[in-house]
Assembly symmetry: C2
Homo-oligomer: 708 residues x 2
Amino acid sequence: MVLSTNTGVANSNALAALFEPKSVAIVGASANPARIGGRPISYYLKAGFKGDIYPVNPKRDEIQGLKCYPEIAAIPGSVDLAILAIAATAVAGAVKACGEKGVKVIVLFSAGFAEVGEAGDAMQNEVDKIAQQYGIRILGPNCLGLYNGDNGNCPTFTSGLEGGFPRAGRVGLITQSGAYGTHLLTMSKSRRLGVTKWISTGNESDVTVAECLEYMIDSDSVDVVGCYMEGIKNPEILIRALKKARAAGKAVTIMKVGVSEVGSEAVQSHTASLTGSDASFQALIDQYGALRAYTTEQMFDILYAFSLSPRATGSKLGVLTVSGGAGVLMADVAEELALTLPAMPAETQARLSARNPLGAPRNPVDITANALNDFPLVAESLDAMCDEGGYDLLVAFFTSLIGSPVHGEKLLKVFSEGVKGQGKPFALIGQAPVEMLEKYEAEGIMVFEDPSRAVAALSALAKFNTSFNAADEDEGSLPEIGQIDLPTCKIAEAEAKALMAKTGIPVPAEDVVAGPEQAAEAAERMGFPIVLKIVSADIPHKSEAGGVALNLADADAVKAAASLMLATVKEREPTAKIDGLLVAPMIGDGVDLIVGTQRDPVMGPVVMVGLGGIYTEILKDVAVSLAPITPKRALGLIESLRGAALLKGVRGQEPVDLNAIADVVSRLSVLATQNVKGIESIEINPLRAMPNGVIALDALIIAGEQSE
Amino acid sequence: MVLSTNTGVANSNALAALFEPKSVAIVGASANPARIGGRPISYYLKAGFKGDIYPVNPKRDEIQGLKCYPEIAAIPGSVDLAILAIAATAVAGAVKACGEKGVKVIVLFSAGFAEVGEAGDAMQNEVDKIAQQYGIRILGPNCLGLYNGDNGNCPTFTSGLEGGFPRAGRVGLITQSGAYGTHLLTMSKSRRLGVTKWISTGNESDVTVAECLEYMIDSDSVDVVGCYMEGIKNPEILIRALKKARAAGKAVTIMKVGVSEVGSEAVQSHTASLTGSDASFQALIDQYGALRAYTTEQMFDILYAFSLSPRATGSKLGVLTVSGGAGVLMADVAEELALTLPAMPAETQARLSARNPLGAPRNPVDITANALNDFPLVAESLDAMCDEGGYDLLVAFFTSLIGSPVHGEKLLKVFSEGVKGQGKPFALIGQAPVEMLEKYEAEGIMVFEDPSRAVAALSALAKFNTSFNAADEDEGSLPEIGQIDLPTCKIAEAEAKALMAKTGIPVPAEDVVAGPEQAAEAAERMGFPIVLKIVSADIPHKSEAGGVALNLADADAVKAAASLMLATVKEREPTAKIDGLLVAPMIGDGVDLIVGTQRDPVMGPVVMVGLGGIYTEILKDVAVSLAPITPKRALGLIESLRGAALLKGVRGQEPVDLNAIADVVSRLSVLATQNVKGIESIEINPLRAMPNGVIALDALIIAGEQSE
């Protein structure tokens, strides 16, 4: 298992030369703009790049109108960025030449490295080593390069820039896969998305998706980023980038593939990256407020919505429609996606009903096809929704009317005036020619053809709002568990329980004492109620010998029971050798949970909590988070369980102590985090949760040095 | 609660005049082709309708070039279909006039009927009554009419036909909502869908979605139908239509809205139809092999796939790609949607690897961007997949290459030759100009931009294949439970249990007998093991008195225990009056389930089975089907439970008797079906399932006359 050599100290300055070079050399330059070594030059020229462009090719003096140099050393000025469009076997030498020239960053198109197996892997390592010696950053290998619309920087051979650059805008796209990245770039153009930066990271021998994300989040010209990734190499940078994004109110949507068995295998054969477990990745996404996109269109819809709309202020959706059917459909989707549809105020409803008796004024506000005969109805209804409805988000279904020669321009005016100054996300559902769509979009109005997608996009905006607000939330602090020395070998059950106790997790106490006084003292230490048992190898049936006393409520009861027990046993089993009295707390009824940590090869320790036994085994009802987590976040995890109601008291049972469970989850997560190298996994199973606390009835720790 | 007045005897002949009239009258005809009374005439003329068209308007002699009649009676020939484009208040009179004229069917555009409340409802009932008197069928009111491309029949004012009719094809669209139906029609045109029939049913005072579906399924010109509905009025016709569709290998996809609370309310305010419970509706869909579409695009993708592709033969998906990333993505989606991705045969993999060392030959077959430099690779790989891979479905990711001026035509040739004669559904992912897309589609190749949607469409084809195959499956027969007389009043627990017993469902037997011989006889009747208890009001602690014997394995044991019991009790409690011996079977450990039936206001009785207690209460782990069902189908339901593994033995427990559970579910469904009017609901909770049978430990029947 090869972990990234990336040190994680990346910051945006390190990538400045990649995105904003002053001078560029193309090693392997071609006069043919259709070839890999020709395309970037052609793109640079078309994009109006202001810096210096130096084609390098020993066979030519001039390429695409530019002076060509026989080797990189021959270039007169300094070179920030070098593109290597050459065979894999020639790369090591070229990197060395770049190093001597003082190149800051290399965009390495060449394939045939780690993605093709051991030999390629060795070659990639060699190239890395040379680059590190010279302090050169590398994008790739096996990548398609990047595009920066801000300055016309185009070190890429993607066919996605053929036929034109994306329109101006504030969207960033990051993709591990080159060919899929080209697909995304092409899609973004047909979807009128303003993509200002696009980058393909390939094998990520050095520069990773996470670093590119951090760079884009730091950039003033990007508001929203879509990432396509197969695996994540440096989650710590991803986390830092997501935190920055949340703090800055920038949206990140991530499409991560390789979840399925075959897909995950295909990732391994296809790139050199590790995928980590999907549950861990999902936990990271959830925790830091990015939105997972499960389909490409979902990702585009989120990018489209966030790049066009004002920031959402909440989750209350107002629905305006000329079709009752579409209204019902949108209400369904909204409920599914946790948006609410509060009714319009009663007086407003009464007014609208009087105005349009065939309509429905509640919400969805259905103005029916009457809108065509009585046009002011549209503006009046929209105004009422904006001014009196108190909605955070608006959606309006007007089907092909929005693009019709008769109604289109009128509707455009009504809608843009209606939402002007409201600062509310507004999605329109309908069909219109592209020129008309562009007019709506210029007013900040989104247009969708499928109502479900419109509502989903609005719900994404509401989720980002929640996430941005959560950035400032006080989560409390992590519990202090002090320094705990771990045995390095196999950890036995008793030792595991002792470790739990040191971590501050309640475990059953047991003590063997000599007589009634000591039993009472031990009981005081443990807390009541108490169980007392005779300790003697000679007495097989303790109950019949009078050697068991349950449910002792206080010290006096313990003392009395102990005296009676010693006397009774002596009478019934006069020959038995008595070794003492075992004192233990009574463990009450409750709900059993499973709490554990697991070291993810990529994400590091993750913590999970689930309902125990069959719930976990059969129903997979568990919640996962990256470790460490505060008790507050742990509580959130517990409450997210499908079966959480079980913990809150069903059928007249008392609710169990949720805070005590949360404390255990949090402490375990801290223990795992403080001992990343020493602990592979911990499992408390069961953790008995009771109305007045919890107790770890069994614990298993798998120790293990982390492979490097 | 108003149930449909529709008698359910609809058949396709009854709708022939609606879809294929020989002559048409437009009452309320307008010279303005933009008006409701003018549009249908304009459409009829454009569509080249061959029958007679009679505008009716007392104010004009000629309309849109046609002779106009002052009233319907004045029309010289017979009239099959009359469109009423007049105010609601004038409708009753017009229907009467149509009746006198011998009109067969009316398309009633007018709004202001049941959808606006009580007054409108009364008016609708009046119109219905008149129509019934004359035997006239009504489409609407509050509908947008229909379009039949086969004969140019256009009794509709939908704006969805403005700018042209849909292209020729074999798709049918049925919609309850008019405005949403227009949206669908417009979408179908931009999506190049060949829609031959489209109908909007509105309030469904008479003609329903289900009848239209049956008509379309019966039609030779339709292969696949999409329905948009808010509620279903006559499930029996829907079922009949779906059965016919399955038998004929025609696909039906249904989008049903009104699932959410607000959505369901909005349906009520918006149409006059009842929605029924969504779970019951879903059960119907599942049972009869239609596919539920949750979004409009999903519905269109299914229609698109089924109308272009050959029928699928299974669920094995072969993935060809130039992007490893896209391959991974598609593998993920395939697994999610229950398609399998078997690997290519080892020899084929070896051959392809030798041919293209940078590629991946397993499946996904990733030929990488090499495809551009080595074009024959595409055809060779595709042929290998078709000839040696044994796949049922194929998907290929070629992004914008499929439409590129350089590669597009070459790829078109390779793909169409590759799939020719294979009879396999083939989806291509990429971007291309519309003219190019049409060329692919002409070859039966689907084109998608989003890989997830492509795989979902293929998975829908695989599901239809499964469903079509299931049409011939022998499901066994329903259990005979004979005639059971129900009490009409409240049914007490004992009575409920007795009813269960009559239904053939095991309930705990109990018998009070006089002595050992009779106890043994009773035990033989009940089956072993047996519990024996003394019956006496004078003995509060039966165990201490020797009055309980558990787990008696045979008749001799029962006899011996009874004799001993009588003797012991007599000795220990000499003054007690002994009333006899209670004989009951021992009920063993097992898994508790809940089995029930519920009368859905629309669908009739539905039956459900779930894991008992908290599983049902908290995890909502239940499966639902329309009643009645055979034991075989009941078994399928039980196995579909999330927690079904619990029944199959976990942690070393013996599996319980699934067939016995299935028998109970089936019998209960038959009981509910035979007594639709008398039973509102039945609940057996718990049904204890054991390794060797089941027993209903408690039962509750809520009787109730069905409201008419």
